[in-house]
Structures are given as C-alpha cells and as structure tokens.
C-alpha cells in the first residue's frame, strides 16, 4: 500500500516536471542538441591529431582503432551522469526556487521519494536526448555497431544507474545547504569525466587517477557498453564489471541516503528550508 503510494508520488513528480519543462520550449529543444556541441570538438580534434579517423595507437590500447565510434559511444552514454549530477542533484533546489519545497515536504511521503521521482524524470529525459544524438551521429558519421550488443548494453546502463542514483541523492542534499551547490556538482562532474575512459582508455592516465578510476561506476559502465557494441578489449571481464558495479552501487546508495538523512535533519533543525 505504502509502496504504491510512493510509486504514484514518483510518477506524479515525473509528470509535473515534464509539464513545467515543456513550458520552456526553446530550452527543451536546445537541451536535445546541447551534448552534441560538446562531443563534436572531441571528434574533430581527434581527427586533426591523427590525420584521419583511424588511430593505430588506440587500436593497440583498446582493440578498436575507429576513434569516432569509440569517442561517440563514450560521450553519449556519459549523458546519464547528467541525470545524477544535475537532474537529481538539483531536484530539491529547484523546488526551493519554485517556492514549493515546504509544501512538498509537508506531504506524507519520505523526502527521498521526490529525488527518485526526479531521477525517473531525468532518466527518461536523458534517454530521449541520447536516442536523439545517436540518430544524428549515425547519419553524420555512419557508425558501425554490433546490434546484438544493444540489449546487454541497456542492462549494463540499468546497473550503472544504481550508483548514479546514489550519487544523485547525495548531491541533492548537499546542494540544499550550500549556497554555491552548483560548484560541488560541477567539480564532481568534471572530475568523474576525467577519470572515466570516455575518449581515451585508462592506460594514458597517471597511475593515481587510474586507481581512482577503478572506483567509478562509469568506468565499468562505459567500457562494458563499448565492449558489447564495438568489441573494446578491457583489463576486466564482463562478469567482474557487473559485480563491481553492484558493489559500488550498493555503497553509493547507502552513503547517499546516509548523508541525505543527516542533512535533512540538520535543515529541519536549523530552519534553513525556506531560505534561499
């Protein structure tokens, strides 16, 4: 009974967010194309550096030399990090900005339910953006993908999302108490982007960053997705990747909820809820 109530509340949050978002049509359409603008320089720069679309060194490191496909798949699927950092991270701050946070918090639903409602919304939104980009890039650059890898890739995304949701819950609470919360999000975001093998394999990172990378869910997510779609060779097996994703996911969710609850208490103790 309670679970059904919570699920309905999540869905209501999702629908409400769509309705608000679609009132800003220009922003919505811009949002669909925005990630492309950040992917294209990586592709064009890559081509300029190797003088073509094929890199011998990349093939040596990853088993695939097609730099465009390699980079594009990495970047497109990193889009789900946006869900955690911006979509969920700003879920509560957004309500604060609308002025409705207190109204929402006075309703008989645990607070993390809103954040998960936002996660639902943001994941669907991000999925749409990723689909959109895949189609555009397919037509511009003509990617060659292993179709049979799509289903297992979706599965991997699903498992990767567990950790990202943990991160999102953590950030949504931090953003609530720090005036410059976007900077925390931006720092985490930029850092994860650097230590995740998106446009380059881990081998080129300094060893300390390589070690940190082994704790990032995105490392296993992106590498395994590329393994399924274009046959990237990695240092770990698919089984290992799934296992580590599950462990990291559990750890991040527990940590996220732990911090979330502490901050929720603190905010209600200090009365910082309405002030922004």
């Amino acid at each position: 009974m309670e679970i059904r109530h919570y699920l309905r509340a999540m869905n209501a949050e999702n629908i409400k967010e769509w309705k608000i978002e679609l009132t800003y049509r220009v922003d919505f359409i811009r949002g669909l194309f925005e990630p492309l603008i950040f992917v294209l320089p990586f592709i064009l720069y890559g081509i300029a550096i190797v003088g073509g679309k094929y890199s011998e060194n990349l093939e040596k490191l990853t088993g695939t030399g097609d730099l465009i496909t390699y980079t594009v798949i990495g970047y497109i699927f990193m889009g789900f990090l946006e869900t955690a950092v911006w979509g969920m991270g700003f879920a509560l701050r957004k309500e604060q900005w609308y002025g409705t946070l207190e109204q929402v918090f006075a309703a008989p639903v645990p607070r993390w339910v809103y954040v998960m409602g936002m996660a639902l919304h943001s994941t669907i939104h991000q999925g749409l953006i990723i689909l959109m980009q895949s189609v555009i890039i397919y037509f511009i650059f003509g990617l060659v993908l292993d179709i049979s890898g799509i289903l297992p890739s979706l599965l991997i995304i699903g498992i990767m999302m567990i950790s990202l949701y943990g991160l999102g819950i953590l950030l949504s609470s931090l953003v609530l108490i720090f005036k410059e919360g976007w900077i925390i999000s931006e720092i985490l975001y930029s850092f994860i982007i650097i230590v995740t093998p998106i446009a380059y394999p881990l081998a080129v990172l300094p060893s300390i960053l390589q070690k940190i990378s082994m704790y990032m869910p995105t490392t296993y997510g992106i590498t395994t997705i590329r393994h399924f779609l274009i046959g990237e060779v990695s240092t770990f097996t698919v089984f290992d990747a799934v296992l580590r994703l599950l462990v990291i996911g559990a750890a991040w969710v527990i940590f996220g909820l732990f911090i979330f609850n502490i901050i929720d208490k603190r905010v209600r103790n200090k009365g910082e809820l309405g002030t922004y």
Binding site: Y24, L44, Y45, A48, I49, T71, E180, I183, I194
Partner: protein, 275 residues
C-alpha cells in the same frame, strides 16, 4: 565636472560588482581552475590517439606538433568569452531579479558609465582568472611563456575584450527585452566554442573555417598561438590584428545601438517592471 561624475559612477559600479562577487569566494576559485580542468581530457585523448605528446598530422593543420599548449591556450582565452557572455548579461539579469534594474535605469545618470563599470569589472576579474590559469598551466603542464611575449599577448587580449564587451552590451540590452535571454547566450557560447579554434584547428573543415572568420576569438587565438607556439611577432600577424580591430569597432557600435534602442523601448512599454 561631468567626467568626474561619470568616473565616480564607474568606480561605484565596479565596487558594487566586486563586493557582490566576493560573496561567492568558491566561485572565484572555481573560475581560476576549471576552464583548465575541462581541457584536460583533450590532452589525454591526444596521447591515447598518437601514443605521445606530439603529432605530425596536427602540425600540418596548425604549424605546431604540440597539441598540449595549443589546447591550454584555447582554454585560457575561452574564459574571456564565458565571462563576457555570462558575467555581464547575468549581472543585468540579476539586477532585474533583485528589482534594482528598474532603479538604475530610472536614475538620472547616463547608462554608459554603468555599462563601462560592469565591463571593466568583468575585465579585471577575468584577467585575474586567466593569470591564475596560466600559472597552473606553467606549474602542472610546463607551459612556456617568455617575458617578451607578455606585452603583445596583453594587447590582443584587450582587443578581444573590446569586441566581447560590445557583444555583451548588445546582449545586456536584449536581456532587458526578453526574459529568457539565456537561451540566446548559450547559443552564442556554443557557436564560439564549436566554430572557433578553441579546441581544434578549424581548417579541418572548409565550412567550419568559413563560419570561424566572423568570430573575433578566432583571430585572437591565431595571434596568441602564433606568438607563443610559432615564435611569430605581432608584425608577422598584423592582418589578424587589423581584422580583430575592425570586428571590435563593429561590435561596439552594434552593442551601443541595440542597448539604447531597447532601453528606450522598454521605458515606453514598461516591460522592465514586468519581471
């Protein structure tokens, strides 16, 4: 008397903007570091693709095999674009959010010193960011900056800023008119990012190269990279400097007219108080 009055307005505006800026110390630190941070993946990517820090193919397009300093210079100069686009029109948007924009536009003083104050404040802070970024580049990435290069680079940076502030004055005007100007500002940012050689040589594609010719950042990047990476002097690169100057004049005139046209219209239609 009059010029003294205007100067005091400029300094008051700068003081106010700096004080507001100092309320966000994390933001200051952020802008000193992150534009470089964002460029780092390109350096690793280059290394992964060619298996080293030099690329012959890159040199065919740019004249230098060294892609790392190429990327770093792009990142530092791009800070000026971000700061001009977001800083100044954001500053006006915030004023309208706080309700102070109406008071400013309704005050008896000329609006030019206020805009100048905002622009100067922007220039000072973004130069502070750029200098900090260059220090980081020197320490972490071993970027070479020779003392005799500093003066010509500063000249180019000033020319770049003039054009950018012309543009942002125009945008400031548009911000008064339409509430959701950030869409337009984002679009301009993306045009600058994609169609000027911030991250990659634009001659890789003739279409991109054509568009890049109308963007002032293209010329500034060409000259600064020419000086720092190709050992050229300003005299070798004079054509770029002249074109940059011409674009500056165009943008300033455009900015001036758009701002005052819209301000007048806004006062007639009363759109400012509708925020």
């Amino acid at each position: 008397m009059n010029s003294f009055y205007n100067l005091s307005i400029i300094s008051a505006e700068i003081k106010k903007c700096l004080k507001i800026l100092l309320c966000y110390p994390m933001e200051l630190v952020f802008w000193c570091i992150f534009p470089i941070f964002w460029a780092v993946p390109f350096i690793f990517q280059g290394n992964a693709l060619v298996g080293g820090m030099e690329s012959e193919a890159f040199s065919d397009l740019t004249g230098t095999t060294q892609f790392m300093p190429y990327i770093l210079i792009g990142a530092v100069l791009n800070t000026y674009v971000l700061s001009a686009l977001y800083g100044m029109s954001n500053s006006l948007r915030e004023e309208s959010y706080w309700g102070t924009l109406e008071l400013i536009l309704g005050s008896p003083c000329s609006k030019i010193p206020i805009l100048l104050g905002k622009a100067l404040n922007e220039a000072v802070t973004s130069t502070l960011f750029a200098v900090m970024q260059i220090f980081i580049c020197i320490i972490i990435f071993g970027l070479d900056v020779a003392v005799n290069q500093i003066l010509p680079i500063m000249l180019i940076v000033i020319l770049l800023m003039l054009g950018l502030y012309g543009l942002s004055i125009a945008l400031a005007g548009i911000t008064i008119q339409i509430k959701q100007s950030h869409s337009l500002i984002h679009t301009i940012e993306y045009l600058f990012y994609l169609f000027s050689p911030v991250r990659y040589p634009v001659n890789i594609n003739p279409w991109i190269r054509m568009v890049s010719l109308v963007i002032p950042l293209t010329y500034a990047l060409t000259v600064v990279r020419g000086i720092m990476l190709l050992d050229k002097s300003l005299i070798n690169l004079w054509q770029n400097v002249v074109i940059l100057l011409a674009i500056d004049i165009g943008l300033i005139v455009l900015g001036y007219y758009i701002f005052f046209y819209i301000e007048k219209r806004a006062r007639k239609s009363g759109i400012i108080s509708m925020y």
